[in-house]
């Protein structure tokens, strides 16, 4: 190998981009060419995964302590600002590109089955490929601007795919909501970038991070402002309080999209950003505490809402918000490896859950379609007893449910336990972390409960789909179940990536990420083994309690179909209505903005000031001037002649004199 390291890194994002171009062209020219579209759409992802794996292997051989940067061209040479279009690969990016291309490839395969009968098949794959391209740009970018391009690009693709079936108003609205809410977060990201450039004079990761400690000092107001603005960006993209509201609505998109973008990859970009900027967050105790606190609060808050949702995808959406909260609790605590570990395992089991729900919805939808019924194919009250008809989906989703609940030895147990352990250990130095840990533990209880509720209502008890529809319920085709099986295996074995020393493991992921996190690591206190065992026992106990509690408290047999269901009351209604947060935002933000726009900006500024004073005013002024001039035009020849003579005399007089 004569090539310098990572010469071919550009191939990884270029492949999905090529897929986008080809599929985009096919969408315009030959939307019916489904075979070609599937081949290109899925093929580029598989190839990209292979390319990513090769690049990571190369990285593993070198295992450098600094990121490998490959510059391609000068992008923004403006005065003091020198930004090259450069990609970088380090241990963190390596994990991310493997997750993005690996889980992405599985979801592409699933999509080929799920979307097969959709008229927008080619457009769908074009968007999906474009998303993967931008996501890879985001995680491979070697500077803030390049990362920002990916950051905005995934937001765009998210918007396009949420509103994929844009002929229905509700879907288009959901897309708009996601985009607008994300803009608020992006604004924070931009402000943080400007501050970083203002104080360090650079936007390259390789320049900014080594300089950060000397430029800002620990705990200064500037670094706190930067980290808080960065985190505002994270709350938008990664759906944390207060900007989480778009993610549940994003479930209007096709289910594989929810799995890829709104569970496994894009929404984890904020977690990635915090880890990437660990050098900055480590300098700001306020910033880190905010990240951890918001994460813990979101984890608990979203879990309460998930308790009372009936739409199967909405339960998973709030579950995603809650699990992202865990990741932020981890990275805010300084346990970066734990956060990334949970990100990875979450990508496995949440993608599995979403694809499983997609398989359920697919079956429900086909059953209702066959009998021309107009029932809600996503409402769990219309399901029940599906385990009999879809044994594969049910089994695999049970595995994922146990994983997300934190039952050992599945993947979710290790990652969640590690985050909670780190938070508890941090409490020794800063007691507020005990509160965060308590919230995380409470959220774990709720997680186990609502996930078991979802499984019970969907797959067990009496079937409520309808007598005629029941015969039409079938397991999904192998094209869709195969990715589920692979994800199931990953869910079972994913924990092996990072088994902590407590269980005799080598904490391999933590060691792998050490070069990235070493510069950034906030002082994390170590707990004694006895404490750790106690924490593990508490976590497992809580998870078991949640599952058993759901089995004891819930009675799927008595549930009525959605059409006949009684209205919710009391606390249940409060949770079902999502704590009325949407209504609150509507009252304090949306309506005032609309009022201001309509009553002031439109009716006063636009109609009176711009249209009235400026546009019509100019017209009126020139008309008045024209009226004065037109008085000379009497139309009588005599007047003209008098003026003419007077003019000639004046000219002659002037010349002669």
């Amino acid at each position: 190998m004569a090539l310098p390291p990572l010469t071919l890194l550009w191939v990884v994002p270029a492949l999905p981009l090529a897929g986008f171009v080809v599929n985009g062209a096919l969408a315009l020219v030959a939307p019916g060419a489904k075979r070609a579209v599937s081949l290109v759409g899925v093929g580029v992802l598989v190839l990209a995964f292979a390319a990513a794996a090769l690049a990571v292997l190369e990285l593993a051989q070198l295992h450098p302590s600094a990121p490998l940067v490959v510059g391609y061209w000068d992008w923004l040479p403006v005065g003091d600002l020198q930004v090259a279009f450069a990609l970088q690969l380090d241990q963190l990016s390596a994990v991310m590109i493997l997750v993005v291309t690996g889980v992405g490839a599985l979801i592409h395969v699933f999509s080929a089955g799920y979307m097969h009968d959709d008229p927008g098949y080619a457009r769908y794959f074009a968007y999906l490929n474009l998303f993967v391209f931008f996501m890879l740009t985001l995680v491979l970018g070697a500077s803030f601007p390049v990362m920002f391009v990916g950051w905005e690009g995934v937001g765009l693709c998210s918007y396009l795919l949420i509103g994929f079936w844009f002929t229905e108003q509700i879907n288009a609205d959901a897309g708009k909501k996601a985009f607008i809410v994300n803009r608020i977060g992006d604004f924070g990201f931009l402000v943080a970038m400007l501050l970083i450039f203002w104080y360090t004079g650079s936007l390259d990761f390789g320049t900014v991070f080594p300089k950060a400690a000397t430029t800002f000092g620990a705990g200064g107001p500037v670094i706190t402002a930067i980290t808080l603005f960065l985190f505002l960006g994270c709350t938008g993209k990664s759906a944390q309080i207060p900007l989480y509201i778009w993610l549940p609505d994003a479930m209007q998109g096709p289910t594989p999209v929810s799995a890829l973008i709104h569970a496994a990859t894009m929404v984890t970009a904020g977690v990635y950003l915090v880890v990437r900027c660990g050098a900055l967050f480590a300098l700001s105790p306020v910033g880190s505490a905010t990240v951890a606190g918001v994460g813990a609060l979101t984890a608990l808050f979203a879990a309460t809402i998930a308790l009372k949702q009936w739409d199967i995808k909405r339960v998973l959406a709030y579950s995603t918000v809650s699990q992202l909260g865990y990741m932020f609790l981890g990275v805010g605590t300084g346990a970066y490896a734990a956060g990334i570990f949970h990100l990875t395992t979450h990508a496995f089991f949440k993608a599995l859950l979403f694809l499983g729900s997609g398989s359920v919805i697919h079956a429900m939808h086909r059953a209702y379609h066959a009998t021309h019924a107009h029932e809600d194919a996503q409402d769990m009250r219309n399901m029940g007893g599906l385990a009999r008809y879809m044994p594969w989906t049910a089994t695999l989703m049970w595995i994922a449910t146990l994983a997300i609940a934190g039952i050992p030895p599945l993947a979710g147990f290790f990652s969640k336990d590690e985050i909670l352990g780190a938070a508890f250990a941090q409490g020794a130095g800063r007691p507020v972390w005990y509160v965060f840990w308590g919230m995380g533990l409470a959220a774990a209880l709720l997680t186990a409960f609502y996930m078991t509720r979802l499984m019970l209502y969907t797959f067990h008890g009496r079937n409520r789909t309808g007598d005629r529809e029941r015969e039409q319920l079938h397991e999904a085709p192998p094209l869709m179940t195969a990715p589920l099986v692979v994800l199931g295996i990953l869910t079972v074995l994913g924990g092996a990536l990072n088994i902590p020393p407590l269980f005799g493991g080598g904490a391999r992921l933590a060691h792998w990420l050490a070069p990235v996190t070493a510069a950034a690591l906030a002082p994390t206190a170590e707990a004694s083994p006895a404490t750790e065992w106690a924490l593990v026992a508490a976590a497992v106990l809580v998870a078991a309690l949640g599952i058993v509690g759901a089995f004891r408290l819930l009675k799927p047999e008595t549930l009525a179909p959605a059409r006949l269901a009684p209205p919710e009351r009391g606390l249940g209604r409060l949770l079902w209505k999502k704590w009325y947060v949407d209504e609150l935002y509507d009252a304090i933000l949306v309506r005032p903005v609309l009022w201001l726009s309509r009553e002031v900006l439109w009716k006063v500024v636009d109609m009176r000031l711009v249209d009235g004073l400026l546009v019509n005013g100019t017209a009126a002024a020139s008309r008045a001037l024209g009226w004065v001039g037109s008085r000379l035009q009497t139309g009588e020849v005599g007047v003209y002649v008098v003026l003419f003579v007077v003019g000639v005399l004046a000219v002659v007089g002037a010349v002669v004199r």
């Binding site: 001039g629 035009q633 020849v637 005599g638």
Partner: protein, 98 residues
């Protein structure tokens, strides 16, 4: 010789023409006054030609040719206006009023 008196007559003729154009309302009379002004100019040309060479006399021929052409066109216009409006009083012809 006789330059001074000739120019005086020319000036008087021109002034009469101008006043006629300014004060009269009948289009035909105004037209005749315009001819008067042209001929006043012709007289001045001839008078100067005696001292400054033959060019002035040649100009007079041009002016007369132009005046003849103008008379043809101008009278035709007046006739057309009369047929249209049944009057040649310029006070009644003011369609171009602004």
């Amino acid at each position: 010789m006789l330059l001074g008196p000739a120019l005086a007559v020319s000036g008087v003729l021109f002034a009469v023409g101008v006043l006629g154009v300014l004060l009269r309302r009948n289009a035909i009379v105004i037209f005749m006054c315009v001819e008067l002004m042209l001929n006043a100019a012709n007289l001045a040309f001839v008078a100067f030609a005696q001292q400054l060479g033959v060019a002035g006399q040649i100009f007079v021929f041009f002016v007369m040719a132009v005046a003849a052409a103008e008379a043809a066109v101008g009278l035709a216009i007046i006739l057309a206006v009369y047929r249209h409006r049944r009057t040649v009083d310029l006070q009644n012809i003011n369609l171009l009023k602004g």
